[in-house]
Each structure stands twice: as structure tokens, then as C-alpha cells.
Symmetry: D2
Subunit: 484 residues, 4 copies
């Protein structure tokens, strides 16, 4: 209510109570004020009512919610279903304009404001996460792979002769497919095995750079966050090569914002070499539903060029999810999540170590991967390793990956040996698990317990059958520990 | 509740009441059964509670909502904010897999089911709208422009030599930009003026087809729905050329599903010639928020190829919006909307005719455009025409477009004269309005009233000032007529 | 957002768009302003977003939602469950104070404002419904029966000698039980049969008034809305007696606000005689969930005395339901509902007439009951009449009442013959149905169709069995026609 | 979805995924099963989705939500506003029937089930809280005061001659007013001062019992939870007198369920003497909005008699709030709250002690009050004591009570000296604060800090002005620490 309405409320209530109500409203508005002024993550997370108050204010600013509005165009933000109105807080116009996905829409001032505030808060979060010199970012309503495609297509407009993308192998399909979707040819760089760990073959990259005319190379396309035993790419060394050979450098930092290891690599590569853009998923780093990515970099005009390459408007849903989540986390909540994740990494390592050694296995030694942890599956036949993976899945362990040698896979024009292990000839079957943001101690404990049982079952399946059935029943009848 | 729980409820309630409750549940479930069996739009729209019941069931089927689940991967569908959980009904995994945006996700059986049901219902709606022989479609969480890019990139994989896209001019930026974003060069075909209407220069297209090696042409890229005075392209004639020259044919049917004129053209072109894919916006045809498009066609394997080109997963939000909306509309609701729109077209025409003739103007004669209607602005100076547009905007008329000659615009490598009018040399300034799905009589009346006032104000601005201010006040103090 | 925040938004958006957003906010606030100024039902109903905006504003004014508040009392409006927070828009303090249920609470200015605005709008609605000289009302979070008890207890404080309540018989249990609960003894006045209709025996009342010392009579307790064949009581004649004998007059107007017949009787009795309070249900007149009643009258100090008799605070939920509903209806919506109800009365009468005459029955002639309609069940055995009632119930017809003679019922100290028919010796078995607010044509048609089938089945049960089973299936598989 | 629908889902999804979805649904349903079987608080709290699933199931069981239902009665559970539908999960019929507020409604099997489950869970919670031999309870949608009235009126039906209620003084208005509202005369028993504490004058009660014919006494009406310096009444001694003199005993246990001290007194009095009913608020003990009370006792038939005295149906809103809250808490959550409260009592005591001694005051010695804590305000003039209270209020400290001698108050026919202090002649002015359920450390700290400042300001107001203004600003700009 505005000043006038508060004054009218005095006809119903003693003015001291009205005054307190006014102060209360003011203190909510003060949060909004600080956000608009500072353009940063709030220090402390907001409560639900303040977040929804802002969403409602924003909604009011879009033309489809003007009370006297008459829309006579072909897109007027009409929403047929009340369920849909509600879940989007009445926002209908999406984000962006035909010319630029980061542009302000005349019909949708509110949505545009939400987008700009979200981009500002995400940039702040990126810096807090460790990429301190990042200067610009945009949230796009596409997952990482398609965001890669857009980035490649943008670079293509600046390097029209480019045909090749140099790419150190990482066995994750979407990011590799992005190369073909965008119309390029990959030059795959096999990794080097150092003890258990797979590292970038920087020399091989350099060899290629020397052998191919630079204008034919679109970019070097590296990866930070990945499944063990692969380590993050040697960004700093590659960044230096990119600078030297004047080749763009694009980083797949899918879930790397949550790890100071990955963000440190990015920051270093940008400072000492060249790094044009790093792209990360919103769901994996900020715990929102799948559907968005953040394209960030150190040169505002390049990031702006990407946003201008996007043809037309796009869904505001991933932006709204991020907007709400960042406001509710605040700097404190975000930092706490990062710290908690680090702790969970150590805890997961410890528990896996215990289970592994109880069954004659061991942790993989991969010191550079700060998220994903592996244990060998070398004491059992290969087919058991695969079976172990699916047994975990049917026991409601999601996300564990059992990798056994022998899988050959073709993607586009390229054939990969031992697909899944990032390497043609990895010496062991193994199992990986990730200490990702949001992981809870309960998850780790449940995982460790079930993994232990699966190990036993694989060794003496018959004997344990009865016991396991009991276990399943007890699982389904126990209450969950988390709340609303 | 299942049978067992209903039995237990008899400890609290007389069994006849429990039985009635069971029957009630069964009748809700019966709706779901019919949907799963028929894979079509329900005949009548569903009530809110049944829709939400199904959303909740679907949610339960995704692994992040399994009560005993322990996720130890890098993406486990964790959602940090309860607001976000709620607005997505707990769905977090998006749609698609790395290999195919239309594929089933193991971690997200519920989301996958929702996607498949949505695709099935949309296909049904497309057929009801008039494209009876459409055989396949996918809903993608990108707006029309980016969906065009994806389609072009898919064709590129099959026609690696292709460089050009033949495109009859339509002055809408996003769809044109898509050509550049995908990395192609447009061959722009100027329109032909027939009375007031702009039509496709089919002969010029044929000339180009004869002059360029076919493998260098990616496709002909036509448009159905567009602002008057442009007519939909001559799809049938172009379709025959495409068939003859073996050139793919992609149609921008942005908001054409709502018009039987446009869907008829598509159906005819597909039957008698060649038409590979037609792409439409979900927001403009189904009244959902911006963010999705439907890529549809007549050859399942081609549509499937497009879905396989998409790298990685994507937001499920536009799919959910459509899912909810289609269920709540049903066949009856959807057909009613189409019929109502046709009626509103006639009504808008009538009211515009009245205002126009009162001020010495007239309707543009554009018999082939069944959505957009224009009136001349020839009795006033050009700058007044432009002013009229912005005066309408500040009076809360959104979507009206006042086009005055003289605007030159460069997009990518191409320069357009008189941008906005689809033609280098259109003889009049004019104003357009669209009878789009969801338009209400009140909107038309408000528009006509305000347009009339703006006309008067442009003629005698001073005199009317006082009256207008009063009007603005009365607008803001009147209640809206629509309800929740 | 306040002026300051809108100014800050100009750092993100062009100021013209911000200005439009500001205007939009202002037009929402203008609704609130008019409400606060006029203290009446808005002319047109509000849209959902404006209603929720006001609820959120109101919520902000309660101390449990002050951002910096520290509560250290024993009741601080803490809410444990987020579901509960949400469904009450954060309001926790209920309404009223220890001294007065209509008083302003210092900790809950927002809730208090909502209560006062609701009372004001309800008073307006009562006047619109026909009781033009009503001067005061309070919404209490108790259903009609308990509200009667409170009213009786209030009068008792002014008439400490009172023991008896004179009550013309109406066979509705709660309202009669209220007499005993409040600690009084009823003097039951049997009705008079005039043709089919049961009317008040005014002479008998007068006789009692002359025979008992007035200070021993608490009040005369009459009824307007009731099941046919009973007519509303003769309020005007009774009102005159009350005036003459100085006896309070309390009216059970349970669902009578929806009928101009009932409100006219109240208005007349108050003008020409005495009528202290009339009490009506909120659910039956305003289509909200059960739980509230409106106690209204013509003397502010008496109504205020009732509110002061209520000990302590009470639930705000029924007030909020009414607040939301009245805002969304507006004067127009409320009047439309009343008019529609009248039309449905005629339609129900017509359809019942058809079914009745097809089976040798006829409408009861009860010209003074404008809501409830009856048909005779005289052509079938008594036990069939009862069976017919339960057959309708199991066929999902709720609210029809089949009354067969012969039921004896004791309530408190009183024994009623032929309970249900308001009369010791009603000549027919009969069936009643009511044209209540919110009834739809579909309901009437479904009822008529099923009633017709039940009639047939009672005559030749075996033969029709197969057909009926089919019918049940078709019912459960049809979609509902109403929307969200 | 039922078995049939899961089978149909296999047309869209691999059957293993469908199977997992089915298991997930089953595990949700298993929670419901355990609830229906055990009729107790679940051990662990439920997650939001399971709670809402059950609410939706319950909703489906009410006739207004039957898909094919046609309602032709005068109350059919129609809800006009979608906002209202949603906030009540479609439930409209309230609880109870005309004969009994705890009876099952034929039209509302779902609502009835919810009510019965809630009563069962509350009884479990009462036992957990310490009243182990409680045998029966009902949740009524009225606050404590009105529930007292209902209880008194019920006893009146069994003791028709009763006129008096014996009541040890407690200065809380509603509970005292209940005596007059129900039509009785209070016999006020002044308390006895023992050190700082006020205790029951049991001898005076006995004296009255001996002097008045027992049939004229309705009951003894005692209090457990109250503001310090009053102690809970001596329930055990009074219970014995009640047993001896055959007088009913009703306990106002307003917020006493949260304190094992109060529940212990109730349990003991019931075991060794007589205690007919104890009544508590739902908001103060279970953190739901104001509006409900629990009437509990040790004799099922007496509690049942109370529920039968209630005339008609009533709001289900307070029941739903409690239902949701108890499910989300579970035994663990409820016990944790109780334990946490005890800890906060000690913490509040410690912090108050510090502030008090810093300003020459001290804690009141009231060893029997385990919730409310007081400090003297003896070093300042009386008017300052009062001012201190309002200064705290304007500084957003709610619930603190500053009591200064000298207030005379009349309620009904009784005049109280020094109202507020439960005693005609309490020696000090003092300030109370309560460690009630849900109190957080932050609240205590904020209170202690502001109290300290207010103390200082009262001593040297001028000097501190500037500092305080700064403080206010810092309060309003700080973010809240709690989350959604």
C-alpha cells in the first residue's frame, strides 16, 4: 500500500498500528532497494514473503498485467490456464528481444528487470566462487550443450574460415555433440595417464596448433569439472597457447563453479593467458531445475556478442528459478553450500575408502579432481562391475557410475575406445561418485551402506537374498528425514 | 490412496462413504487412463484438481522425489528453494538426454512421460487445427528463432555443402537472424504488390533455384503468419518447386496454428509438394508464456533427427505449461478458441473500418491475411503516423504497429529499405492490429475507442487535453472485468 | 515498490517503461484506495493478482511478519509449517481481543483491517440483498447454530430471568439444539397446514405471550429459509407482537440472504415491528467453506454487545475466505449470482414438474418458499420413498431429501412426530430439492435425468439393471464441464 | 496412478522405470497406511509432497469434488473463488453434523477422515507431552475462551441447578469472561504470596465448598499456564477436593502442553483426584494460526457429550492446520520442539538475569512457573515501568509485559485491584517474558539487547538518542536469518 492507503487505513485502525505496518512494509522494501542499488547477491538470504513480494511487483510491471491494457498484437502474454499464471507469477513475455536475448522488452519491463538483476547476482556469485576477474555473464535458458553451440556459432561469425575445434577428450556426450551440432569438426586430444589420473596432453595440442592454419581453428574447447579419473584440463598452459596462437578458448565448466579448484584454474588461465568464455549449468551449481546455463567471460563485448547472436526471445523460467534461489541463499547461504560441499567431499572419500578396503579395493589416486571420487573394481569379473552399477540403480542409488573396459562408441564421425573412461586403455574397472553441491551426510551413508551390501551380494548372492528383501521393506516404510 | 488404504479408512468411516470416495478417485484416474490409452487431447478439458493430481503422480516418478533415494552424482535434481520446488511440482531433471531431447531419462520417468504425452497432445491439436497429415512433432524449450537454427543445423548435417537459404522477405527480425546465427547466407526474395497486398514472387525463387547448384541451397524458408499487408507465402507453389528441385522446405508458422488459412496452406504444400518442417511458437498459439516452439513435420525420421541434434537436456518448463494448458482446454476448449478468434477477426475488422472511415482512412485490402488487419494512415504527415504508434503505446494499447515509410535497417549483411513494411516501396503509412487467439471483445472496444481519441488528438491536440486526462483517471479507477 | 525503488529501477530500464510499471502499480493500489474510502463491495470484482497483493500487504502489517520483530510472549503468531503459512498468507493472530471479537489487535493490525473491511463489505451485501435498513453486522468464525447460542447468551445477560424461547417448529436439528446448548427451554409452536404449505401459527404465539411473564421469555426465534413445504415464518406479524410485548426477536436466516423473499420479510419486520438480530451462514449465501456466520441487526449497540460477549480471539480463516470471495465477486458478481439463482429456481421447478407428472406425481403448492421445491411421492409405498432418497445419494445426487411419514425423534426434552416434515401429520411423502446460489443448469439436468431413472427402477427394478450399470460407467468416464 | 495406469505408462517408458515410479508411489502410500493403521503421530515428520498428496486424496473423497456429482441441496460445498478452493485443498463441508461436531458427515467423508486422524494424532501428542492417561480429545474450531463456554454449558446440562464457578484468580480476561458468557457467577479465590510467587489458596476453596450446596457449583476452574509471578494452580490438591465434594474440575491449560510441569500437574490431579477436562489452545502449543482449541479428558463419554452439545457444523480450517503441522513434525519434531523450549527457558533466564543485574534489578523467584520469567522494575518510578513496556513494543519487541501497580479493572460484576499482577497488592513493578514453543535464540538476544538499551534510555534519554537512531536503521537494513 502507498502512503495514501496507509493514511486511509487510519479510519479503521489506531494510527500507531498503521505506522508499524508502514515500517514493516518499508523494511521489506528496503531489501529491494539494497538489491537495486548494489546489484549484488544480498548478504543474507531473503525470506519467502519478501521474495514473493518482489515477484509480484515485477509481475505488475509487465504489460499483460496492466489493469487497463488492451493487447491487439499477435503476442500479448495471454495465459490460458490459471495454474500456469500462478507458477510464473503472471509473467508471460519471456526474456530478450529479437535483437538480443539480454535486451529490455518494452512490453515486459518487469521480466527485463528480473533478468538484469539475475545476471548481476550470478556475476557476483561467480566472483565469490573464485573467478574474481570475471566481468560479464548472461543466463541463457538452454542447458550447457546448446549454450556451447551458441557460443561456437558466435565465434564463427568472427572467424568465418574456422572448421576445427580442438578438444581434449572427456567422455560426456552432450558437450562433444555440440561440436557437430554447430557444424564443426573435432580434433580429439587423447589424455595422458599419470598414476591413476588422466591429464591433458598439452604438447599434442601445441603440435596441432603448429600444424593447422589458425584461421581454420574455431577454438580450443577445454573442460574443468569431469568424472574421475580424468583431471580438469591444464587451463593455464592451454590459455597461454591460445594467447600465443590467437585462438579463442572456451571452457566447459559444467559443474565447476562449486569447486574452488575449477574456478581457480579459470581465473589463472584468464589472467596469464587467454580464456574467452566459460560456460556452466545453472542446475548443477545452484540447485535449480535443469534448463539454464551461464555464459561468462572477461570481455563484455564478447559476451554481449553472444547474447546478440541468439535469435528472438526465450523462456524466463530458468531465470526466475535462479532469481528466487539466489535471493533466498544470499552470500551466506551460497558460501555455506560451497563449504559444506568441501566437507562432504572428504566425508565421501572416507566412507568410500572404508567400503573399498573391506572388499579388497582402493581409492583411485586423482589429486586434481576435487569433486568426483573413484574406487577400483578390480577384484571382480568385468561383467560384475557393470552389474554392480545397475544393482545400485535399482536400489535407489542414482548417479554412481560403474565403468568397465570394453565399450566402443561412435559419436558423429569419431569412434571412442573404452568410452566412459576418457581413455583408450584405462587399466581398471572402477566406480565413481561425486560430492556435488547439496549432497547430504545421509546420502553418503545410505550409499556406503548399500554399496557394501551390493559388494557382498555379488560375492555370495544366494545367501543374502532374504536379508536384502527385508532391507527393501524397511527402506520403504521409513520416513524421510528432510522436511518441506 | 490405494485399495489397502481405503480398506483401512473403514476403521474411521462407514464403508459406504469410503466406497464413494474410492469411486471418486477412480473417476479421476479414469481421465488419466483415457489419456494414456488414447494419446490425444481429452475431449473436454480437465478440472484443476485432476491436472494437479497427475502432475503430482508424475513428480513421484522422478528419482529426486523417491523417498529413499540417495543421489551421489553431479546432477541429482536437487532444488534449493521451496518456491522453485512448488512452481515445478517437484520436477527438476528437465527433458531429454545427451543423445536426444525426446529420449526418456532414466532418472526422470515422470518428466519423460509428461514430455511424451505433451508431444502426443500437441500433434493432435495440430491435426485439429488443420494439418491433418502431420505425423510427428516435438516441443522444444526454445522460441521459434532458435528452433529454426536447430532445424537448419540438422539439415546441414545432411547437406554439408549447403551455404544459402532462400527466403521471401518478411520484416520480422528473429526469424531472419536465425539464418546468420546458423551460419548461412540468405537469398532474399522481394515480395510482389497486388493491390494492397504483398505476395510471394514465386518466379524469382524458381529463377534462383535454376541458377544455384542445389547442394549449395540448404532450404527454402517460407512464412505463413505475418503482419499485413504481407500475405502468407505461396506454400503450395513453393512446395512443388522444392519437390522438383529436391530442396528442403522449412516453414515459419509462428502463430499460424490458430488460423485455418495457414494450416490449410501447410497441409496442401505437404500433400502436393514438399514440406519438411513447420515451426510454431507455443505462446502465440496456445496461450502459454514465451519459451517453447513446436517443430512438426510429415516424416518421423526427420523430426527425430532434429531432436537428436539437440545436445543435452533442456528445461521442462515450457513442456509443463503446454501440458497443463492442453489438459485444461481439451478438444472443446481448443476448438472454441479457434472459432472465437475467427469471430474476433470479423469484429476487429468492423470496428477498425468504423474508426478509419470516421477519419478519412480505409482498411487495407489484404484478403489472404486472416489474422492481421491494417488501415491506411494516409491523411496525416508521416511523422504523425509514427507518433500515433507511440501514443497508443502510452495509452496501454500494446501490439498495434504504425508503419511509416523511410526506415532503413541492416541485419547481418543485408540492408532493407522501408523496414517494417516487407517491401522496398509500400505506398502508404498504415497501422496494423491482429486478431490473435485469446483476443476479447473488450480489448477491441478499448482499442477502437482509444484509437479514435488519438486520431482526434493528432488533429486538434490542445483542445482535447483536458478530456484525455479525465479519461486516464477513469481507466485507472475502473475495475477489470476478467476474473481469476 | 515505492517511489525510491522505481527510481532505482531506472538504472536497469528506460524510464518510460519504469513509468508504465509505476502506473500499473498505481492502478492496483487505486482499487485498494477505493475500498478503504468507500468501505463497500467494489462495483466490479477484482482480479486474483490484486486480491493477493492486498492479502500480502495485510500480512506485512501483522507483527509476526515484521522483519526485525522479536516475540517473547506466549503467543507470537509463530507458524511451524510452510504449508500453513502459505494457505493463510502468513496471518496467524486470528481476529479479536479478549474483550471483543470485533476489536483491533495491537499485534495484528493487518488481520484487524481485513476483519473490518470484511464486515463492511458484508453489510453492503446484506443491503444489496434486500435488508436495506440493516445497520451493523459481524462475521463470526462459527456456524449458524453456535452463533445462535452466542446471541442467546448475550440476550441472557440483559434478561437474567429469561428461561424460555418461543420457536415455531422447523425440522432442522442444529438450530433447535442451540436452544438447549444455551441453557433454555423451547416452547415449540406447531405449524398450520394451508393447502400443501406449512405456515406460522401466529395466534398460538400470541397466546403464549399472554400466558407467560415477559421477563421469562428470552426471545422469539423464527426461521426464514427452510425446506418446503414449510414457508418462512410470518416475520412481520411476529415482529409486531415482539414490539408490543417487548420481547427480543432473533431470526434464523440461514440461507435466506440469497432470496429476496426472505430479506424482504426481515426488512418489513424490522420496519414495522421488532427484529433484534438475523443470523445467516457464510457458506450457504456466499459460497465459501463451512465455518462462518453473519450476525446482523438494526441496532449497532446490540450487535456490538454480542461481539463483546465472545470470550477471546478466534480463527480468521472464515473471514479471509469471505474477504477474498467478496472482492472477487464485486457488486456485479453478487447481483448476477442472485439473479441466476432466481432463474434456476424456475428451471428446477419446470424440470421437476416434468419428471413428476411423467410418474403420476405433482409439485407441492408452496408459494411462499422461494428456494426449496417439493414433489409428492404418493404413488409408491412409503418404504420406496425412503429408498428413493438413498438411491439418489448413491447415484451422486446430494442434497435431495425424501421425506416419508412415521419418523419420531427426540431432541433434548422434546419429541417430534413425523420429524423432517415440520408437522405432526403431513399428508404426503415427498421429495425436496433446493435452488440454492451457485446451482448450475447441468446440475438440474443431471438430477432430473437420474431422478427419472430412479423412479423407473423402483417400478421395474430388474429389467433396468443392465442399462444402469452402463450409465454409471459413462458417468465416470465423461469429463467435467467446469474449469479451474 | 493405479495399477492399470502404470501398466499403460509402459507404452511410453521402459517398464523398469515405470516400476521404480510405482515403488516410489507405494512408499508414499505406505506413510498413509501406517498413519491409518497406527492412528498416531508418525515417528518422523512427512515431507511436503506426501502431506499434500494425502490432502488431495482426502479432497477427492468429499462430494463437492466428485466429478459426476449434482448437488441440489441448500449446502453443497460450492466455493466461488479459486483462491479459496486452493487454500482449503477443495474442502468445503467443514466438520461435524448437527448432532455432533465429531460425527462423520455423509457428504464429506474426506473431511471427516481428516478430523478423526487429527484428533487421534493430537491425543498422541498430549500423551507424549506428559498427560499419559488422557483417553480422549476433540479439536474444536474455537479458541480457548469459547471452548470453556461450551464445556461449562455441557456440564450445565448435567447439573441444572448450578450457578457458581470457583476460580482462583488469574489476570487473563478471556478465560474469566467465559464464566459470564456461559451465564455463571464466579467465586474468585485470591492467590497467596510466597516469596515472589503467587500460589493457590486451597484452604479458601475448601471453605467455599463447605459453605455452598454442591449442586449449585458448576465446577472448579483452574489454570496451569500463566504469567509469572503466578504459579500454576495446585491441581493435585484441588483435584482431591473435587473428588471428595463431587464437583467437576475444568482446567485452563492454555499453553501448558508445551511444559512438562503443567502436564505433570494434570496427570497427577487426574490420577489422584478428579479432573474432568483440560483445554488448550492449538496456536500456542502447536504453532498454527489462532482459531482452535483441544478439549481433552480422561472419560470418553464426557468428552463425547461436549462434542454433542455443539450445535451444527464448524470450520475445518483449524483442524487442517493442525493436521498438516502434526504430520510435518512427527514425534521427533514435536519432542525436539519441547526440548528446545526448555533450553530456551534457561537461556532467557540467563540473559534476563544479566540485563537485570546491570541495571540494579533481579529475577523474580517463581520456581513453579516453567514458562514465564519476570524481573523487578523496582529501581525506577512506576510511570517509567509502564513507559518501558510501550518503548519495547515500538521497538518491535512483542509479548513483553510491564506490570506496574495501581490498575483497577472491572470485568462483568467483579472488580480487580492491581489488575495484571493476579494479586491485590503485589510488592513490585515487574516485566515478564515467556519462553514459549518456537522461541529462537535470536529472539532472546534481540530482546536482551533492546531491553538493555531501553533501560539506559529511561535513565539518560537525551544522550543516547543518536545511537538509537543508528540502531533502528541497522535493524531495518539487515536481512532476516530464517528462510522460507
Amino acid at each position: 500500500m502507498n502512503v495514501e492507503n496507509f493514511a486511509l487505513a487510519c479510519r479503521f485502525l489506531p494510527s500507531t498500528y498503521v505506522e508499524q505496518g508502514k515500517q514493516s512494509r518499508k523494511s521489506h522494501e528496503n531489501y529491494i532497494k539494497i538489491l537495486l542499488e548494489h546489484k549484488k547477491l544480498p548478504v543474507k538470504g531473503w525470506d519467502r514473503s519478501t521474495i514473493e513480494m518482489l515477484l509480484n511487483e515485477i509481475s505488475t510491471m509487465d504489460s499483460n498485467n496492466f489493469l487497463g491494457n488492451a493487447g491487439i498484437g499477435e503476442r500479448e502474454g495471454r495465459i490460458a490456464s490459471p495454474i500456469v499464471v500462478q507458477r510464473h507469477y503472471g509473467l508471460a513475455h519471456g526474456i530478450g528481444r529479437s535483437g538480443d536475448i539480454a535486451a529490455v522488452q518494452p512490453k515486459a519491463a518487469g521480466s527485463s528487470l528480473m533478468m538484469k538483476l539475475t545476471n548481476a547476482m550470478v556475476l557476483d556469485a561467480i566472483r565469490i566462487a573464485g573467478v574474481r576477474s570475471a566481468s560479464s555473464c548472461i543466463v541463457v535458458p538452454m542447458a550447457t550443450g546448446m549454450s556451447m553451440v551458441l557460443t561456437f556459432l558466435t565465434i564463427k561469425q568472427m572467424r568465418p574460415e574456422a572448421k576445427y575445434i580442438i578438444w581434449p577428450r572427456v567422455d560426456q556426450k552432450s558437450c562433444f555433440k555440440a561440436i557437430f551440432t554447430a557444424g564443426f569438426e573435432p580434433i580429439v586430444i587423447e589424455n595422458i595417464l599419470v598414476e591413476d589420473e588422466l591429464r591433458t596432453d598439452v604438447q599434442m595440442i601445441e603440435k596441432h596448433l603448429k600444424g593447422i592454419p589458425p584461421e581454420q581453428i574455431l577454438c580450443i574447447y577445454t573442460t574443468t569439472s569431469c568424472f574421475t579419473p580424468r583431471a580438469p584440463d591444464s587451463l593455464e598452459a592451454i590459455g597461454k597457447l591460445c594467447k600465443e596462437f590467437e585462438i579463442p578458448h572456451v571452457v566447459n565448466n559444467a559443474y565447476g563453479l562449486q569447486s574452488s579448484k575449477c574456478t581457480h584454474l579459470i581465473e589463472q588461465a584468464a589472467r596469464s593467458g587467454r580464456l574467452d568464455a566459460f560456460i556452466q549449468s545453472t542446475d548443477k551449481n545452484f540447485m535449480v531445475p535443469v534448463g539454464g546455463a551461464v555464459i561468462a567471460g572477461f570481455d563484455d563485448s564478447f559476451i554481449s556478442k553472444i547474447s546478440q547472436t541468439y535469435p528472438g526471445r526465450a523462456s524466463a523460467a530458468p531465470v526466475m528459478d535462479l532469481f528466487v534461489t539466489l535471493l533466498s541463499m544470499g552470500v551466506e547461504g551460497f558460501k555455506d553450500s560451497l563449504i559444506e560441499r568441501k566437507g562432504m567431499y572428504r566425508y565421501l572419500q572416507k566412507r568410500l575408502q572404508q567400503v573399498a578396503s573391506a572388499h579388497g579395493e582402493r581409492l583411485l589416486v586423482t589429486p586434481n579432481n576435487a569433486i568426483s571420487i573413484g574406487i577400483t573394481l578390480s577384484s571382480m569379473p568385468t561383467k560384475h562391475a557393470t552389474e554392480l552399477g545397475s544393482m545400485l540403480f535399482t536400489r535407489n542409488i542414482s548417479g554412481a557410475r560403474a565403468i568397465a573396459p570394453g565399450v566402443t562408441k561412435q559419436i558423429g564421425s569419431v569412434t571412442f575406445e573404452n568410452y566412459g573412461s576418457h581413455y583408450n586403455n584405462y587399466p581398471y574397472a572402477y566406480l565413481t561418485a561425486a560430492a556435488a553441491i547439496g549432497l547430504k551426510k545421509d546420502d553418503v551413508n545410505t550409499f556406503a551402506r548399500r554399496l557394501d551390501r551390493v559388494f557382498r551380494k555379488l560375492i555370495k548372492p544366494k545367501q543374502l537374498k532374504l536379508k536384502l528383501e527385508n532391507e527393501i521393506i524397511s527402506v520403504s516404510s521409513s520416513n524421510s528425514s528432510f522436511r518441506n
